[in-house]
Amino acid sequence: MLDTRDLSKVYGRGKQRFEAVKHVSLTLHQGEVLAFLGPNGAGKTTTIKMIAGLVRPTHGLVTVVGEDPHRQPRALRHIGAVLEGNRNLYWRLTPEENLEYFGVLRQVPRKVAHRRGLELLSRFGLEEKRQTPVQKLSRGMQQKVAIAVALIHNPKLLLLDEPTLGLDVEASEMVKALVRQIAQEGRAVLLTTHQLDVAEELSDRVAIIRRGRIIAEQSTEALLKEFSSSTYHLEVEGELSPQQIHTVTQLGATVQGTQITYAGTSENLYALLRALSPVPLVAVQRDRADLTQVFLKLVKDQPDASL
């Protein structure tokens, strides 16, 4: 669906030369959500804008459904975008009018754009507000309209730059649910966000960019697994017998009252569980890293020399 090869962007010349993006290669398949993460100024927005054809790469190639948005304007029919820091909508127009206008702008026939706009408004729960000027809507509703507008031409790739920024919890949940639905429809979604819990919840894959270069790219699950330790925390109901404590300790676990901590092989874990029988178990939990820990570790630990 999306393929970028060796994308680089250099701004300025001479002493003011600044390489904002260095050799970024990304692929994104149908129905997949890729969270594109990085600190401020790491090159996320520049990369997204290069994909959307708004910033011309110094080197490298972008193809969306086999077409290059920098050389073939029709490639833009496959791309929908909600860009950060932008209103993305005409505030004097209502949601219905915005949808029809942007539909036509994306080469959808006017009547089709109107019909599809109404469908999207109904799906996004905005039917009642369809004739209210956008500037009178709440920030959450405006963001939903912006996402609806980005979908009006039925694009195969949706670029969302900080879609939950500045939204309250409820609106943020709504947007997350929408992103899930959009991916389930078979669209590819490239998402940037600083809210790593959002990225963890929504993404199938994660790419982390630092100082213009991708420092990690793999499935969210694999990345979290890689950074998770193999330590288990068990909790039992009631006291263990001295014999049980002895066996458990022999297997390498430490016991503190009803809490047992174990860091060993999975075979011994089952032996430990057998040793605990018949004391009721309250919880068995493996230490699991969250995306925030992974992100901070990767971003802080990468020595500059390797970049």
Binding site: P73, L76, N86, L93, Y101, L105
Partner: protein, 257 residues
Amino acid sequence: MIDLLYAELKRTWIQFIRYPTEVISGIVIILAVFYGLFSSAQYIAGPGFAFGDRLDSVVLGYAMWTLIISVNNDIAINLQIEAETGTLEQVFLSPYGAPRVFLARAFASLALRLLILVVVLLLLMGLSGSRLAFPPILLLPLASLLMAGYGLAFLLGAVALVFKRVQQILGIFQFLLLFLLAAPLEESTGLMQYLRFLLPMLPSTGLLRDLMARGVGLDWATYGLALLNGMVYFVIGLFVFRWAEATAKQRGSLSGY
């Protein structure tokens, strides 16, 4: 393309009409100025004198002056406003390509301005009992004038895309515009007689003066050159605008302001 033109007309109209107080105050200002013209206070017209002393000429001269100023500034000002409000990049995501979108926008805003002018003039004719009469052949040099005017508008739009803040340039440009609209270079002798065909809009304004003030018929050969002048400036404007779009994308400064 028809759908795009319709969509731009609708968007322009809705944005204009959404807040009635703005519409009313705008129309009252235009009405006041034109009422001044109708009351023979011709000094109010400023450069309108260029098209003759009759009421018809003064009114037409002023209407054209305001129209050309707004046409020239239209693209640059809208680019800047949209960059500030954050819709510009969405416009550049259109598969139509920016020049076609801005061309459709230019037609839409011209249609709105002409509509307002016609409504105001009809209102005033009704109020004052005066009658204005223009030979329909005026539309020909007016068309070539507007083509060159839009060529300049795209040039200024290109400046706005690359250099962003353009208010000062637009201010200075009005003096140049005054020269292009009011300087009667068609009466000059020597080299300037020919050089005037190279300057934007001048051949068309000369023809308008022939028709309005001098009562001379349309010289078709001169009109051919005026039309060519309009087309050449229009094409230059579009070409430079495309270059500016590519430059802004190269610099990554499309949405900056």
